[in-house]
C-alpha cells in the first residue's frame, strides 16, 4: 500500500509542496513528483513548520500595523 522506496526530497521541494497545499492549488506534474519523492514524515514536519510560519507571519504583519 505504501511505497517504501522513496528517496526523500530537498527542503525546497517540501516547502513548495506545503505552500501549494496551504493555497489548495497544485499542478498535476508537480503532484506526481511529490508523490514519488516526499515521505510522510517530510510532509507532516513540513506542514507543522508551515502552520507555525503562517501564524508568525500574520502576527508580524499585525504587529507592524498596530505599531
Amino acid at each position: 500500500m505504501t511505497n517504501n522506496n522513496k528517496s526523500g526530497a530537498s527542503v525546497f521541494q517540501v516547502a513548495k509542496a506545503v505552500i501549494s497545499a496551504f493555497m489548495g492549488i497544485r499542478k498535476k506534474s508537480d503532484l506526481e513528483n511529490d508523490a514519488a519523492n516526499l515521505t510522510p514524515a517530510q510532509v507532516i514536519i513540513g506542514g507543522i513548520i508551515g502552520a507555525i510560519l503562517f501564524v508568525v507571519t500574520i502576527l508580524f504583519i499585525v504587529n507592524i500595523i498596530v505599531d
Binding site: F22, A35, G47
Partner: protein
C-alpha cells in the same frame, strides 16, 4: 477514479445474520451500524426540528404566546445541541460507516465491536438530553455554547447536558479512531492515499480533527462540572478564575467542529458533482490539499467567535486575517466544483440538485462568514440574527443539503431500490424555497439589530419574523416528505439498475452488485488507479 478490474465477486454465500431485534443489538456489520446511525440521526433531526418549530412559533409575532422565556431558552439550547451532536455528526458517521469500507474495498470497519459501542452510546446521550426537559429546573438554557456563568447556575438539566456531551464526545472519538485505522490500513491493494475517493479523504481529515478537538471539549465540560460541584473556580472570577477562559477553550473545540460538520459535506458533493457531470473531479489533488489546509487553518481562527469578549487589538487583527485567509482554500473548492461541471454532460437528478443547491447556498453562507470575520462589522452583528442566518446557511444548506444529496445518491446502492425522482425533486425545490424564506430574511433582522435567543422582540421586527416563521414551518413539513420518500423507496421503490448513475466511478458502484451484499469485499478487489 478507479477502472473496473476483475469480476463482481460472489457475495451471496454467507448472508446469514441474526434477525429481529438481536440483529441490531449485536451486529458488528458496518452496513447495519451505518443504518442505525442514519435512522438515529433522522430521529434527532426531527427532535431538533420540533424544537425549532417551537422557537419559530413563539417568534411568529411579538409578545409571549406559547413558550415561557425560560422554556424558550431551553428550546434554543437543546435545538443547537441536538442538531449538532445528535443529527449532523451522527449522520456523517452513518455515511462513513456505509461508504468508507465500500469505497476503499475493505470488508468492514477496523474495530467492528467498538463501532457498535460508539453507536449505542448515542441513544443514551440523546435520552439524557431530551429527558432533561422533565427534571426540576428544566433543560439547560444557557445556549448551545453553555458559557459560564449561565451554565454554572442552572439545575440538574445542565449536569445531564454535561454528561451527555461527555458520552457523545467519547462516541465521536471512537468513531474517528475507527475511521482513521480503517482508511490507513484496509485499503484495497494498489489504492494509494492519492487514489482514494474525495469522500474518504475528507473523512480521514475530519477524523483527525475529531481526535484533536473532542478531548478539548471533554476537558471544558469537566472543568464546568468541577466548578459546579467540586468547588473549583476555573471560570468563576470571584474565585480567581476567568469566564473568558471558557470561551477560548470552548471555541478551540468549536471552530474545528464547524469544519467537522462541513468537510464530509465537501466529500459527498465532490462525489455527486463529477458523477452527474460525467467528468472526473477537476483538481483532485487541489481538493485534497485544500481540505488539509482548511483543517489546519481551522485551529487558528477560534477567537473570531468572541471579538466582543475583550481581547487586545493585535489578537483581534490576527484572528480577523487568519479567518479571512481560510476563504482561500474554501474558494478553491468552489472553483473546482464549478470547473468540474463546466462543459460536462450534466443531468439534474435529485442528488445533483441538492449538490448544486449546496454550492449556491454555501457560498452565501461563506460570504456572510467573511463579513462576520471583519472585526468592526462583527462587533455590530455579534449575537444578532445576522449570525443565526450565517451559520444556518452553512449548516442547513451546507451540511444538511449535502446529507440529502448523499442519501438520494447512495440509497439505490443501500436498498437496491430507486427513490421516486418526481418526489425527490419536489423535496429539493420545497426545501430550497422554504429554506431561503426562513433564513434569508434573518440577515435583514440581524442588520436591523434583532438579538438572538430572545422570546419576544420589538414591533419593527414583526414582518420579517412572520415571514421567517412561515418559511420554517414549510421547511419542517418538507422534511416529512423526505421521510415519506425514503420509506416508500425502502418498502416499494422500483428495483434499481445495477449502476443507476452512469457517471459513477468509485468501487461501490463498479465492483459491487446493487443492492450491496451484507458482506462485501471479503476478498479485496484489484484496484487499478486511473488519471484523476
Amino acid at each position: 477514479m478507479a477502472a473496473v478490474h476483475g469480476d463482481v465477486h460472489d457475495h451471496g454465500h454467507d448472508d446469514h445474520h441474526p434477525t429481529g431485534i438481536s440483529r441490531w443489538l449485536t451486529t458488528t456489520n458496518h452496513k447495519d451500524i451505518g443504518t442505525m446511525y442514519l435512522w438515529f440521526s433522522l430521529a434527532m433531526f426531527f427532535t431538533g426540528g420540533f424544537l425549532a418549530m417551537g422557537i419559530r412559533a413563539e417568534l411568529f409575532q411579538p409578545g409571549i404566546q406559547i413558550l415561557e422565556p425560560e422554556l424558550f431558552n431551553s428550546f434554543t439550547t437543546l435545538h443547537g445541541l441536538i442538531m449538532v451532536f445528535g443529527a449532523i455528526m451522527p449522520a456523517f458517521v452513518g455515511f462513513a460507516n456505509w461508504q468508507v469500507p465500500m469505497m476503499i474495498g475493505a470488508p468492514d470497519m477496523a474495530f467492528a465491536r467498538m463501532n457498535l459501542w460508539s453507536f449505542w452510546l448515542l441513544p443514551i446521550a440523546a435520552t439524557l438530553l431530551v429527558s432533561s426537559f422533565f427534571v426540576p429546573g428544566g433543560a439547560a438554557a444557557g445556549g448551545w455554547t453553555f458559557y459560564p456563568p449561565l451554565s454554572t447556575q442552572g439545575g440538574l438539566g445542565v449536569d445531564m447536558m454535561i454528561f451527555a456531551v461527555h458520552i457523545l464526545g467519547a462516541s465521536s472519538i471512537m468513531g474517528a479512531i475507527n475511521i482513521i485505522t480503517t482508511i490507513l490500513n484496509m485499503r484495497a491493494p494498489g489504492m494509494k492515499l492519492m487514489d482514494m475517493p474525495l469522500f474518504v479523504w475528507t473523512w480521514l481529515i475530519t477524523a483527525y480533527l475529531l481526535v484533536l478537538v473532542m478531548p478539548v471539549l471533554a476537558g471544558t465540560v469537566t472543568m464546568l462540572l468541577t466548578d459546579r460541584h467540586f468547588g473549583t473556580s476555573f471560570f468563576n472570577a470571584a474565585g480567581g478564575g476567568d469566564p473568558v477562559l471558557f470561551q477560548h477553550i470552548f471555541w478551540f473545540f468549536g471552530h474545528p467542529e464547524v469544519y467537522i460538520m462541513i468537510l464530509p459535506s465537501f466529500g459527498i458533493v465532490s462525489e455527486v458533482i463529477p458523477t452527474f457531470s460525467r467528468k472526473p473531479l477537476f483538481g483532485y489533488s487541489s481538493m485534497v490539499y485544500a481540505t488539509a489546509s482548511i483543517a489546519i487553518l481551522s485551529c487558528v481562527v477560534w477567537a473570531h467567535h468572541m471579538f466582543t469578549a475583550g481581547m487586545p487589538t493585535v489578537a483581534q487583527l490576527f484572528f480577523m486575517y487568519a479567518t479571512m485567509l481560510i476563504a482561500v482554500p474554501t474558494g478553491v473548492k468552489v472553483f473546482n466544483w464549478t470547473a468540474t461541471m463546466w462543459q460536462g454532460a450534466m443531468s439534474f437528478e435529485t442528488p445533483m440538485l441538492f449538490a448544486i443547491g449546496f454550492i449556491f447556498l454555501f457560498v452565501i453562507g461563506g460570504f456572510s462568514g467573511v463579513i462576520c470575520a471583519i472585526v468592526p462589522i462583527d462587533i455590530q452583528v455579534q449575537d444578532t440574527y445576522y449570525v443565526i442566518a450565517h451559520f444556518h446557511y452553512v449548516l442547513v444548506s451546507g451540511s444538511l443539503f449535502a446529507l440529502f444529496a448523499g442519501a438520494y445518491y447512495w440509497i439505490p446502492k443501500w436498498t437496491g431500490r430507486m427513490y421516486d425522482e418526481k418526489l425527490g425533486k419536489l423535496h429539493f425545490w420545497l426545501s430550497m424555497i422554504f429554506f431561503n424564506l426562513t433564513f434569508f430574511v434573518q440577515h435583514f433582522l440581524g442588520l436591523a439589530g434583532m438579538p438572538r435567543r430572545i422570546p419576544d422582540y420589538a414591533l419593527q421586527f414583526a414582518d420579517f419574523n412572520m415571514i421567517s416563521s412561515i418559511g420554517a414551518f414549510g421547511f419542517g413539513l418538507s422534511q416529512v416528505l423526505f421521510v415519506y420518500i425514503m420509506i416508500k423507496t425502502i418498502r416499494s421503490g422500483e428495483k434499481a439498475p445495477e449502476k443507476p448513475w452512469d457517471g459513477a466511478t468509485t468501487l461501490e458502484w463498479t465492483h459491487l452488485p446493487t443492492p450491496a451484499p451484507y458482506h462485501s469485499f471479503e476478498k479485496p478487489p484489484v484496484f487499478k488507479p486511473t488519471v484523476h
